[in-house]
């Protein structure tokens, strides 16, 4: 067993197992927000660096090789962070059941989606007049985007209004 720890690749493997568990946990609890992304990217950097240095055995090689690989890791991580920071603001509690106003763009993009269910104004069924019916395939998120044609207001709902 003591010889097991002498091999740097074996030590790296144990760290990778723990780091994978932490990443899994982050996804399982639905961690969101900048803190979660930073934690996730830090784990990615630690894991990636261990794979580069101990699995691909680049530890002690000329700086060019380490710069190439570790630089790639930093570049990709930086681009992910940049993409996240420049993206649309996301809700901090996505599992919330509370209806929220949906942005115009959200409903508009669904109207043209081939997989969305669109019920036209005044068509028979349980859909109130003037509403566009959009359903998610599954999930507990508010899934129905209702558009009031009288004032153009859009709202997320969990159920059809009676």
């Amino acid at each position: 067993m003591s010889t097991f720890f002498l091999n740097p690749a074996n030590r790296a493997w144990l760290v990778l197992l723990v780091a994978t568990g932490v990443t899994w946990w982050l996804g399982d609890v639905g961690a969101a927000g900048t803190d979660a992304i930073l934690a996730m990217l830090a784990i990615v950097f630690i894991k990636g660096r261990l794979v580069i240095l101990d699995f691909m055995e680049l530890r002690g090689t000329p700086p060019m090789w380490r710069l190439l690989f570790e630089g790639w890791l930093i570049l990709v991580g930086g681009l992910i962070l940049l993409a996240y920071a420049s993206g649309p603001a996301t809700s901090t509690s996505p599992k919330s059941m509370a209806p929220r106003r949906c942005r115009k763009q959200e409903c508009m993009s669904q109207d043209v989606n081939p997989t969305s269910v669109l019920v036209k104004r005044g068509s028979p069924g349980q859909v109130p007049n003037g509403s566009t019916r959009i359903r998610q395939p599954s999930g507990t998120d508010p899934s129905i985007c209702l558009r009031d044609t009288s004032n153009g207001e859009r709202t997320w709902r969990n159920e059809w209004p009676s």
Binding site: M40, L41, M56, R103, S109, G139
Partner: protein
């Protein structure tokens, strides 16, 4: 602009998770009508995971060839270039998944 209908990531929806337990992840998605053209996220989700899957298949073929050649005594102190190249490729595929998994399944 990503559609709000599919804001959930594949691993984070309880119903998706249940579906994933009983059948293949792709089959569960396609069965729900999610396809390559559903939205930007699913376009990247399918292409990234599929291309990575192809790399894993290629890596397993390479490992099988290395295993056979090692048994034949092809590698040793005189020559281990092929063995080391194959191993480096396999670890490179691992490295890519370390970046891809949080990006596709964890980040939101």
């Amino acid at each position: 602009m990503e559609d709000c209908r599919y804001r959930r990531r594949p691993g984070q929806d309880p119903q998706h998770r249940r579906a994933r337990d009983v059948k293949l992840e792709y089959a569960a998605k396609f069965g729900e009508g999610i396809s390559f053209s559903t939205n930007t996220f699913y376009r990247f989700y399918i292409s990234l995971t599929f291309f990575h899957f192809m790399h894993v298949i290629l890596g397993m073929a390479i490992l099988a060839i290395l295993w056979v050649k090692t048994r034949q005594g092809a590698y040793g102190s005189h020559d281990a270039h092929g063995l080391e190249s194959g191993a480096a490729y396999w670890h490179m595929v691992d490295l890519l998944w370390i970046v891809l998994f949080p990006l596709v399944y964890v980040m939101r």
